[in-house]
Symmetry: C2
Subunit: 555 residues, 2 copies
């Protein structure tokens, strides 16, 4: 049985799920022994620990110029000591060029089979990836497992399914038979989905697999070789993905350089050199707006970005203020506000929030919200695991700076004890009140656990500001609370115009930060937060070109 | 019966045709009395003649600042004297902005019905449009009828069908029901296809409707208002389209400004002002590479271009050299080489072309080709109608310049008599031999009836040069003649990598210049000849953004 035949039922389910957009997950998100085996967790942890301080030597990329690695655990603040093979951009591009002419000629079904097989193999390493993610990003164990393992694999599957579907949308051949009156003109036509060329996928430090696999698999399924350039601070999780892809390629007698890892350092970065190389045609990027916007201006390249955004919460009226405050407190605590979907700007009318038992004043809500944050932080069975650690020292500094903003500080950022990692770099959310007139303060992303409570004239001003921020500075998420159907539709419509998805009235165990594969388009591509979307048709169709040839039928 | 119901069978046929890619045409291309009625032609001619020297006053755009019009017939070299209402860019954008919020809320089915109804009305004006096209572009009657009437309407239908289909690819709502073990999380989700905003469609002087209607209908079907900015030299054909769209909108109680005409002059152009206006989000452009490439650099805009290319013919081996020479002679004579698909660079091995009766030398083929061109030009029943007239005086000058190129002139450009228009601006093809080493001569588009016979070492060099020109300077078409299957696949593969469709071994009544709606993707979007393709999924999906909202199911 071919790999395609082996995985065809999964592929078909995934394509159906793309269109149904109901709940679908191919990879179970619970790190449960019942699902993954009794020893899966301990084995994964052991493998991660065994990797520390050594060469990551499982890649199939020969003859490196050296070995480097600068990862550091936000939990221990110690270097991981893992080194990766280094190659010059020219060697990477040269190998990718040779691999291109192999990979583009592999049939779509064979490509699909190989890529799905790689996900099956990666599933066996989810726990190892989870520990690698914890100790590079600072994510809590649960998020690290889910986001870098099953959720990332689902996003990869989504890209494979979308690519496979788009590649089938036109026939590979057809007879064009045109009646001309007394005779017919008959042409044999054929269409080829021609891959664009070398793809470079540039990763970020906070979600090293989740944000990169869609570009990797999106480019691979459409026939493009990929050079994976991780953030120097978060290499290991994606290195494991690349290694498994390479081993499946090799097992199928294909050039492992179809997917290469390209590790660099902060001091000697290679992303720009790779991106500007004339042979590189596709660029996927997750990261800061300055570099992302520069990449978008490169001519002759197809560029997919996820940059930064200013996410908002619009508070108008609620059924249960306690549940709302608890839900939002979780959202801002989760991974210490280091998610691209975390809310930052909370727009609250000066007159307060309408509730069934009367209006809740601005101050009362602010206090309730701050109390909920503290209560979660102070819960030793939840806080440390929800907050995790801070990936980058600069984030910690930014949090302290936020306390100096001109406005009432409702909650100061502070430390807390992680029972397993005494030396963890941590920061709890800072909550500052800002007047709606001080737009310069809230017109930018303040990455990390920083929350601004913005006092507005009324909900109309809240909506207008949330829309303006999204249109001007980008937004990936918006939370809104209203019990009024007219206000709800106004928010839905105005935020739609700013290409920002809205989560309405979330309470309980679902949060505005979460985006589910096969249902939620992640980043819409319609505002400055990014020009691409996981995974709409464009995300894969822009990676290849339909070219048609024709010839008269021989009589 | 709604307009959607009325036209639904046509829509369904068109969607099927998009995917079957066999021959399909909704609008008969023959200007035959049996199809269009006995008096259709004479009525159309009369209406065109009645329009001359008057205000074009059928548009539903009130309060112009003035009336302008600079069209001139290439057949009579007289001004048409038709004037069109003028509006400032600010007024156009202001009206489009108001219209946007009307049109985006019209359902997809209603939009579809209205747009298909407009095509049914435009069909009644095909002959009038044909004469308008002849006397602005210089096209012969048959081409003017077909290209601006039925073929353009088919391309418009194709864009409507593609847009309709893409807008249906995701559900408008779904229940997301995630099992969490002891309970389920249920969210009601909805997805909106949010139009990007004001669309500006910038036309060209040679194909004023065919090249513009796809952008117009592509933007309209996806909910965007359109400002149509024709080339000042070819307004009337597309003005009739816009007028009919406006009248259908009005008949359905919608703002006619959903589709506006914006006429300017060469001296006071408004394309750049419109393109750079912050409210303009979509730009469609057909025309020169300099302006097209500038438009592509505009940030925050989605830009669709068809610029210029260097089209080639690769001659390797033929079954019947006479038939090949005749076919190619027609291709270069057709509309005096003013089609974006017309071939320019003919690559011929120095050793000649293989035929069943031995090798045909370079010189013998060159002579045969030149003779075939002359013979068609000199055929009074065909020549004048195939060649038509030259749209722009600069093209005539460029043809004369070509005779001075360093190389043997196999055929000089000359005049001929058009029996109906003694004063027609005409030019027959000039054919010049160029050595393959003189790349600077053939590395650019020489728009008009200019043919370069490039003497190459062998077919491999021919292929390499054709590919290089396409990759570096763009190409929209390629003709290739070979009886060798290995060479054929090499050409198909190498030109695919340059995103250039190849017509193999065309003889008889089908030409490499021709691109059929619903089958041939026009311009692939994969090389510098343009970044868009009529009509692949991107062509419509890039005009809107999928935005999803969600809310817990109320218990």
């Amino acid at each position: 049985m071919s790999l395609f035949e082996k995985h065809k039922p999964l592929l078909e389910q995934a394509i159906d799920a793309l269109h149904a957009r109901t709940f679908y997950a191919a990879f179970p998100e619970a790190p449960a022994p019942a699902v993954y085996g009794e020893s899966a967790d301990s084995n994964g942890k052991e493998k991660f620990q065994n990797a520390l301080g050594k060469k990551f030597d499982e890649l199939l990329q020969p003859n490196p110029t050296g070995w480097i690695g600068r990862e550091e655990s936000p939990y221990t603040q110690d270097a991981l000591g893992i080194t990766y093979p280094v190659f010059t951009p020219d060697v990477l591009v040269e190998r990718a060029t040779a691999a291109f002419h192999v990979w583009r000629k592999v049939s779509v079904t064979d490509r699909t089979g190989i890529l799905l097989e790689s996900l099956a193999r990666i599933k066996e390493r989810f726990f190892e990836i989870a520990y690698a993610t914890m100790h590079t990003t600072g994510q809590g164990y649960m998020m690290a497992f889910q986001a870098s393992g099953p959720h990332a694999a689902d996003r990869a599957l989504e890209a494979i399914a979308a690519g496979y579907e788009e590649l089938q949308r036109y026939p590979s051949a057809a007879l064009w038979d045109k009646p001309m009156g007394k005779f017919n003109i008959q042409l044999n036509k054929e269409w080829r989905a021609v891959p664009k060329g070398i793809s470079v996928v540039i990763g970020c430090s906070t979600f090293p697999t989740w944000n990169s696999v869609t570009g990797i698999y999106g480019s691979l399924i459409t026939g493009n070789p990929v050079i994976v350039k991780p953030h120097p601070g978060a290499v290991l999780p994606i290195a494991i993905f690349v290694s498994e892809i390479q081993h499946v390629l090799k097992a199928n007698n294909l050039d492992p350089n179809i997917c290469q890892l390209a590790v660099d350092t902060i001091e000697q970065p290679i992303a720009k050199v790779l991106a500007e190389h004339p042979s590189v045609k596709l660029i996927d990027f997750t990261g800061n707006s300055v570099f992302g916007s520069y990449l978008e201006t490169l001519q002759g390249k197809t560029v997919f970005t996820e940059k930064t955004g200013v996410n908002s919460v619009i508070l108008d009226s609620v059924d249960d203020a306690d549940k709302v405050a608890a839900n939002l407190a979780f959202s801002v605590n989760l991974y210490s506000g280091q998610m691209c979907t975390a809310p930052q700007n909370f727009y609250i009318p000066a007159a307060g929030i309408k509730t069934p038992s009367g209006t809740l004043s601005f101050d009362d809500f602010a206090q309730k919200f701050a109390d909920n944050i503290s209560s979660l932080v102070d819960n030793p069975k939840a806080g440390p695991y929800v907050l995790g650690a801070v990936q980058n020292q600069k984030t910690s500094e930014r949090v302290l700076e936020a306390e100096k903003l001109p406005g009432k500080v409702w909650l100061k950022s502070r430390s807390f004890e992680n029972p397993m990692f005494k030396n963890a770099r941590v920061a709890t959310p800072v909550v500052v009140e800002v007047d709606a007139g001080k737009k310069d303060i809230f017109s930018k992303e303040l990455f990390g656990p920083i929350v601004l409570l913005i006092k507005t004239k009324d909900t109309n001003q809240s909506i207008a500001l949330a829309q303006e921020m999204a249109l001007r500075h980008g937004a990936i998420s918006c939370g809104a609370y209203t019990t009024d159907a007219v206000v709800r539709e106004k928010i839905a419509d105005e935020m739609s115009l700013a290409a920002t998805p809205v989560s309405f009235n979330l309470t309980g165990g679902i949060y505005m930060n979460q985006n589910a594969a096969f249902s939620d388009f992640h980043v819409t591509g319609g505002n400055p937060a990014g020009n691409a979307s996981f995974t709409n048709p464009d995300y894969v169709t822009k990676r290849f070109t339909w070219v048609g040839h024709r010839e008269p039928v021989k009589l």
